[in-house]
């Protein structure tokens, strides 16, 4: 097999960047900086998985917080029963994947905007479930089933930081693998015209389900890692719409249906978090306005805009010329 030199160069660049980021905590970078890098990779994983569904399958999923919450709560249940953290993370991902299969027969009957609203119901319903249900521990007086995550004492912050980098990179790799495979072509065909895809022999249900399950799996892991960092999960935060908002913003600002879009979008979102750290409400209003402006003026996001400009195209030609 011949190694594509262009691909190889890209791989080296990514590997160097990741290695530098990974050793930062050892070098003693301020903790707030590490926090933003941590958030970047968690949001990146979430945005990539949302982009996979909405940008490449045409499934505008608003139920991603369901996977985050399920991941976090499974982690709680596992650790409270004395099981190791890693088993909890994996368990959460599997629970989210199984849950996806259960709801898929209902939500896949819906198309376009109906699918969006159908999926919107799911995290709201789960939020109520976890508000009422106390899976582990004593029945406390009053409502609001918030939990501490146990067994975090032996895990250092650096460790959790590395986990975040890992899941962020995994999400990029998964996007690359899925899109360059036969499955990616099938998904694109479904998005563009599902009846034509179906009559060309593509099993629509199976492909959509596969993408949905992958998305749930990775989203749940990213969610668990985030709650490992927080150390505490409550139904209002775990199943919150704010998660959906973050991934939509990151993807749409960067450029939906592009592989680089979520990366650029996440950088901007995390930067906004950094700038407006003290004014959370105002930050969200600005993000909402940003989303509206992008949709009105540049629906393909920054990447879509960049692709049209001459500089980007000549840059592309340059790197392509290099690799030949």
């Amino acid at each position: 097999m011949k190694v594509n030199p262009h691909r190889f160069k890209e791989f080296i660049v990514i590997a160097v960047v990741v290695a530098v980021l990974a050793v930062l905590p050892v070098l003693g970078l301020p903790r707030t900086w590490l926090l933003y890098i941590f958030l970047f990779f968690i949001y990146l994983a979430l945005a990539n998985m949302w982009n996979l569904l909405s940008g490449y399958c045409g499934l505008i999923s608003l139920c991603q917080p369901a996977f985050i919450g399920l991941g976090g709560y499974t982690l709680v249940i596992f650790t409270w029963n004395g099981l190791p953290l890693y088993m909890g993370i994996l368990g959460g991902a599997i629970v989210a994947a199984i849950f996806t299969m259960l709801i898929s027969s209902a939500v896949f009957r819906l198309r376009g905007i109906y699918f969006a609203i159908g999926t919107l119901v799911v995290p709201e319903a789960l939020r109520v479930v976890f508000f009422i249900w106390r899976p582990v521990g004593e029945q406390i007086h009053g409502k609001g089933a918030g939990y501490m995550i146990k067994g975090l004492n032996d895990v250092s912050m650096t460790h959790i930081y590395w986990l975040a980098i890992f899941i962020g990179i995994v999400s990029i790799v998964i996007m690359r693998l899925t899109l360059s495979s036969k499955m990616g072509m099938g998904l694109a065909a479904i998005r563009d015209n599902d009846s034509a895809a179906s009559s060309s022999g593509i099993n629509i249900f199976k492909l959509k389900l596969f993408a949905f399950v992958i998305s749930a799996f990775i989203t749940a892991i990213a969610g668990s890692i985030f709650y490992m960092f927080q150390g505490y999960i409550a139904p209002e935060s775990g199943f919150s719409m704010k998660w959906t908002m973050t991934m939509i913003l990151a993807t749409v600002i960067g450029g939906i249906s592009t592989e680089e879009g979520p990366i650029i979008g996440t950088v901007i979102i995390v930067f906004l978090h950094f700038l407006l750290a003290r004014y959370a409400g105002i930050s969200l209003i600005i993000q909402g306005i940003l989303l509206i402006i992008i949709m009105l003026l540049a629906p393909q996001g920054i990447m879509g805009f960049a692709r049209k400009t001459k500089i980007y195209q000549s840059l592309l030609r340059l790197t392509a010329g290099d690799s030949i």
């Binding site: 505008i60 819906l110 905007i113 109906y114 609203i117 109520v128 749409v252 969200l284 209003i285």
Partner: protein, 289 residues
């Protein structure tokens, strides 16, 4: 025997009356959905806009929340008109997703504006009659619940008369049936869409006031009521005012009966599960074809 009867009669009657409120909340969504084939994700937040507007008028000026509608209805009409004219209309033809994402952004902006202006605390529209109830045999029914049903009937009759008897109403129906044919008949559909969105928001103003009289609300109450409205619309099928009314009553009954016989804290969950089951089994609605 009598006790069992009153046991079941209370949730049934309050469920039907509550259904009135859900009908009013859903009518605005149904109108936009039916005419523009667009689900306005910010609909719940527009309803809560109505609630907060009435709340501010009541707290700062001391007017009765129902009276505040004199200003609330035109204000929300203008907001709805502007949303369609300056945002939705521009991306309307591009794709299904674009208006959805814009509505999502509007919802986020509204929600956080409420958080900043009114704090995340739970508010309610408390009036002299909000704690009173009337007695029907052995059953106590809160007055505001009865108001909900009366208002629902008024809004439904007014809306159907408007759609049937006025030129604009007929133009709205024509544009919902066939945009191109309507345009060929000389109807300015872009303007009709703005008016439709405005009317939908104006109905939300009414819904918001009676929602505030019935339930406490917070800045994030928009999503639960959006889901309820959506459930009512799919239950009742598209474009039918009576269908919406039936859907509203079914969800109202499901909530009060669920609260009585299953658990009060699970009442919203029951509504969500019903919405999901209907989507899975009959996405076209009970009365859809």
């Amino acid at each position: 025997m009598n006790e069992i009867f009153s046991d079941i009669a209370t949730p049934v009657i309050s469920g039907i009356l509550l259904g009135g409120l859900y009908t009013v909340i859903a009518l605005g969504l149904s109108l936009v959905f039916g005419v523009m084939k667009l689900i306005n994700v910010a609909h719940g937040d527009l309803v809560i806009f109505g609630s907060y507007f009435a709340y501010s008028i009541m707290t700062y000026l001391g007017f009765n929340p129902v009276l505040s509608l004199v200003a609330g209805i035109p204000l929300l009409f203008a907001v709805g008109f502007a949303i369609q004219k300056y945002f939705m209309a521009r991306v309307f033809k591009r794709s299904m997703e674009a208006p959805l994402l814009i509505a999502f952004g509007i919802s986020l902006v509204f929600e956080n504006l409420y958080q900043i202006l009114f704090t995340p605390m739970s508010r309610g529209l408390t009036t002299s009659y909000s704690l009173e109830s009337f007695i029907l045999g052995d059953i106590y029914i809160p007055v505001v619940y009865l108001l909900n049903l009366i208002v629902a009937l008024i809004v439904m009759i007014a809306l159907s008369l408007f759609l049937k008897k006025t030129f604009i109403g007929q133009a709205i129906i024509a544009s919902s049936q066939d945009i191109r044919a309507a345009q060929l008949m000389g109807i300015n559909t872009a303007r009709i869409f703005c008016l439709t969105f405005g009317i939908s928001a104006a109905i939300s103003a009414v819904a918001g006031v009676f929602l505030g009289l019935t339930f406490p609300f917070t800045p994030v109450s928009g999503i639960p009521f959006l889901i309820i409205a959506f459930g009512v619309v799919i239950l009742g099928g598209l474009g039918s005012i009576i269908g919406t009314f039936v859907g509203g009553i079914i969800l109202g009954l499901a909530q009060t009966l669920g609260a009585q016989y299953i658990s009060a804290s699970a009442q919203m969950l029951i509504l969500y599960v019903i919405v999901l089951v209907i989507l899975a089994v009959r996405p076209q609605g009970l009365f859809g074809r």
